[in-house]
């Protein structure tokens, strides 16, 4: 649809201390268009959005809502909303203590005689949500509903408020395939209504499924704007990375490790935890890279955590290298040679104000115990070793780790666990939110570790990643381990079938 321009950003620049976040970036959005905004970490995607919605100020350039109209500067999200720009973020930006109806209408509640008209508000809320296939009790507090539902309610709110521009900032990260499809249906409806949608995402498949245009940013600069159907995937990735892409192929060849020794390193029988993961049996051999796949919420992280003692299991038996162990806490697991890279690095991994060095040696220190502090010389040696090994980009060992980019932070946490010399390493979404270059490095590292005899459990939502690195896969569905796939069966079709269960679903 050749449509009028509904948002035009020209020459936008923004500097943070020490970093040029945006360098003369242009961005154009037309009505009835779903436009993807893509780039690796540090590309400037979120900064561009923040500048547009008034969360940050920009130093130069101009923003216009329509051709020929005045330039605008948004000083706050509220002002942006008044200009017709609504945003839905990855974190559910709603208030858990308020009811669903309130969350939808707060700030613009229907009133009667100057006071809020609750009855009308509840009615309108129910209507709005049923239009989007959601039939829930709008008077209950938001926190009673799942994160996925909360996300959709957030989108419903934005949709109700936004006239011209809807920004979706990685909205699908916590949604399962069904919910993503619902979202896409909604987006297409809005597109038909003439709304311009900016879709910020990492998921290549989703971009190709639903977007008309793609704008790629890299290191704060504009790489280009493209029509989706005219841009092959490989080229897109190349533009995002700024280089050519053979590395991933290399993995495929190196990938499959032998891992065929006799004794299982991990022998779990009937381990389960009420309400979290149904009892499962799992045997893992030394040097294997075993993947856990399944839909969002199928219990992969929960399984990993139940092995590690992060969530204490209430049934079952665990043998590590032939010896029965009882793992009640992460410390027990660590002493048994395990290591666990959590899914949520910001909340469960990074100790933001401590230095890179301190973050790296922490797990090892915890393993050695409170009365055996690691001397500063040894700390430095170990830290340097892993900074080098993982190519962690940091100004110095004493830089607070919060100054590092997401990808480098992830490397620090990985380094932290590698430092403990584990026999069994659990990686839960190690490449989520990471730029493609680092993703490759981590995958290569996993394969390398397996070759050296470390057993690895690899959890990822990107099936391709797991196919590349795993020698075996366990499949989960609805908090239950349902099957295992051996090396020969590791391709997308087999995996999808195993996840879906009897036959193909939608």
């Amino acid at each position: 649809m050749p449509n009028e321009i509904v948002l035009s950003m020209k020459n936008i620049s923004k500097t943070f201390p020490g970093v040029r976040a945006l360098d003369h970036v242009d961005f154009t959005l037309r009505s009835g268009e779903i436009h993807a905004l893509m780039g690796e970490n540090g590309a400037g995607k979120s900064t561009l959005i923040k500048v547009l919605t008034g969360v940050e100020e920009f130093e130069s350039g101009e923003i216009k809502i329509e051709v020929g109209s005045q330039t605008i500067i948004n000083h706050s999200p509220q002002e942006a909303q008044e200009h017709g720009i609504s945003t839905v973020y990855q974190e559910v930006n709603l208030c858990p203590n308020l009811s669903v109806a309130e969350n939808l209408f707060i700030g613009r509640e229907p009133k009667r005689a100057g006071l809020i008209d609750w009855k009308t508000m509840n009615r309108k809320a129910t209507e709005l949500l049923s239009k989007l296939d959601m039939n829930i009790d709008v008077t209950k507090a938001l926190e009673n509903y799942s994160i996925a539902l909360q996300q959709m309610i957030a989108i419903a709110r934005a949709v109700d408020m936004s006239a011209k521009v809807l920004i979706l900032d990685e909205p699908t990260s916590s949604l399962d395939d069904n919910e993503v499809e619902k979202l896409f249906r909604l987006m297409r409806r809005l597109k038909a209504d003439g709304v311009g949608i900016i879709f910020v995402t990492h998921f290549l498949e989703q971009v190709y499924e639903v977007c008309d245009k793609i704008t790629v940013l890299r290191n704060g600069g504009l790489v280009g704007e493209y029509e989706t159907e005219k841009l092959p995937r490989v080229q897109l990735v190349a533009k995002m990375m700024g280089k050519d892409f053979d590395d991933l192929e290399a993995i495929k060849k190196v990938g499959k490790t032998a891992g065929k020794s006799s004794e299982p390193v991990i022998d779990a029988k009937g381990i389960g935890r009420q309400g979290t993961i149904k009892p499962y049996d799992l045997q893992i051999r030394k040097g294997e890279v075993i993947g856990l796949s399944g839909l969002l919420g199928s219990g992969r992280s929960e399984l990993a955590r139940s092995l590690y003692g992060a969530d204490k299991p209430d049934s079952g038996e665990l043998k590590v290298s032939g010896k029965t162990v009882v793992l009640h806490t992460p410390r027990d697991a660590m002493m048994a040679g395990m290591a666990y890279l959590p899914e949520n690095r910001k909340e469960e991994g990074i100790v933001a104000d401590l230095s890179v060095r301190e973050n790296l040696i922490l797990a090892l220190q915890a393993k050695r115990g409170m009365f055996h502090p690691i001397g500063s010389k040894e700390q430095e040696e170990l830290a340097n070793k892993y900074v080098k090994l993982l190519q962690i980009k940091t100004a110095s060992l004493d830089t607070p780790v919060r100054s590092l980019s997401g990808g480098n932070q992830q490397k620090v946490i990985l380094g932290r666990w590698l430092l403990t010399d584990p026999d069994f390493l659990i990686l839960d979404e190690p490449t989520r939110g990471i730029d493609v270059g680092t993703k490759t490095e981590i995958q290569k590292l996993v394969v390398q570790l397996a070759k050296e005899g470390v057993t690895v459990m690899f959890i990822s939502s990107e099936i391709e990643e797991m196919i590349r690195t795993c020698s075996r896969m366990a499949v989960l569905r609805d908090r239950e381990k349902v099957s295992e796939l051996i090396e020969e069966e590791l391709d997308q079709n087999h995996i999808m079938k195993a996840i879906a269960g009897g036959g193909t679903d939608e």
Partner: protein, 351 residues
């Protein structure tokens, strides 16, 4: 000229710069009213002078501040019961030493017993607070509110509503001085507490753990660090410090005055931690900063006394100082200032 600028930037960048600056400022402002402020003489074999008085009287607060620092760092909360715990500790000690009587001229029970009892009382109170905060996950300010409200009442019950006097020379020594040693005892005690704590933090990994737990408790758990134990210990330690401080305070007045021992000191202790550049939200901390903050507050009080302000009225000035300093440290203010600077700069460019 540039070298000078760079030097100033480096100087102000030091973590302890602001606390030290404030301390020096307050000390020198004392000089205005009291020209002989820094004079030190020896009277009766003990060091004597205004500055000595400040250091001496600050000792109770310094000990409290040490404990409070760890609580703030590990849990991001504050223990407002420390004043009341001081009172309880003093009451317990005097109760034991007087055998329940209102006034004695010699120890009914051994001195060491009274000391141990007081310290134990402090530890027990710390355990109570620690249990509520670490195990039941109750907000620190609220959890400690309970002892804050009930503590003095309990002390009153122990002393049966009266002030218990211990008129024994050796009891007073803790609060004043030991014969033959020119430095007043409280100063010693404070120094020892600070040093021991410092060693404890550095030689074990406690310092690192406290910071880790304070910054990201979840992550610390996954790494095998028992965050609830660390938090619990910090409150126990704070209670211990309050117990020791209560002993010193009680010894100063050789009695247990349930209403007045440690009165308002909890507020001073929190301020000391804040003035020391420590974030009240927890995480990274500087023990030295809190110590400097404690001396600053005491010096400030002295300045005000010299200007004729009565003890009742001093809080007004403390309040202003505190708000100014905390505001200056606030990141929001820094953000506003830098924004202002940027606006001025870009304004200049246009012109």
């Amino acid at each position: 000229m540039n070298k000078g600028k760079a030097f100033i930037k480096r100087l102000t960048g030091y973590r302890l710069f602001l606390p030290l600056f404030c301390l020096v400022l307050v000390l020198f402002s004392n000089l205005i009213k009291t020209p002989g402020f820094f004079e030190v003489t020896i009277k009766n074999g003990v060091l004597y002078g205004y500055i000595i008085d400040v250091i001496n009287r600050a000792s109770d607060l310094v000990i409290l501040a040490v404990g409070m620092t760890l609580v703030v760092a590990a849990s991001g909360g504050t223990d407002i019961s420390v004043g009341a715990v001081m009172s309880v500790a003093g009451a317990v000690c005097c109760f034991i030493l007087s055998g329940g009587q209102q006034s004695v001229n010699e120890f009914v029970n051994p001195y060491i017993l009274g000391v141990l009892a007081a310290v134990l009382a402090g530890i027990l109170c710390g355990c109570f607070n620690g249990f509520l905060v670490a195990k039941l996950k109750i907000q620190p300010m609220v959890a400690t509110l309970i002892l804050f409200t009930a503590g003095r009442g309990i002390a009153q019950l122990i002393t049966k509503g009266q002030i218990t006097y211990i008129r024994v020379e050796s009891y007073k020594m803790l609060g004043s001085s030991i014969p033959g040693i020119p430095i007043p005892t409280p100063v010693f005690v404070a120094l020892i507490v600070v040093l021991l704590t410092y060693v404890l933090l550095k030689k074990t990994t406690l310092g690192l753990y406290i910071q880790t737990v304070g910054i990201n408790a979840k992550a610390s758990k996954l790494m095998g660090i028992k965050s609830s134990m660390i938090i619990f210990l910090s409150y126990v330690f704070c209670g211990l410090c309050a117990g020791i401080s209560g002993l010193v305070a009680s010894s100063r007045i050789y009695s247990a005055d349930a209403n007045n021992i440690g009165l308002n000191l909890e507020l001073d202790a929190i301020l000391a931690v804040a003035l020391g550049g420590n974030s009240l939200a927890g995480g990274k901390f500087s023990l030295l900063g809190s110590v400097i903050g404690a001396y600053t507050i005491q010096a400030l009080s002295t300045t005000l006394y010299a200007m004729g302000v009565s003890p009742d009225q001093i809080p007004v000035y403390k309040a202003i100082v505190v708000v100014v300093i905390v505001a200056l440290q606030s990141t929001e203010l820094k953000r506003m200032v830098s924004k202002l600077q940027m606006n001025i700069k870009s304004g200049k460019k246009v012109a």
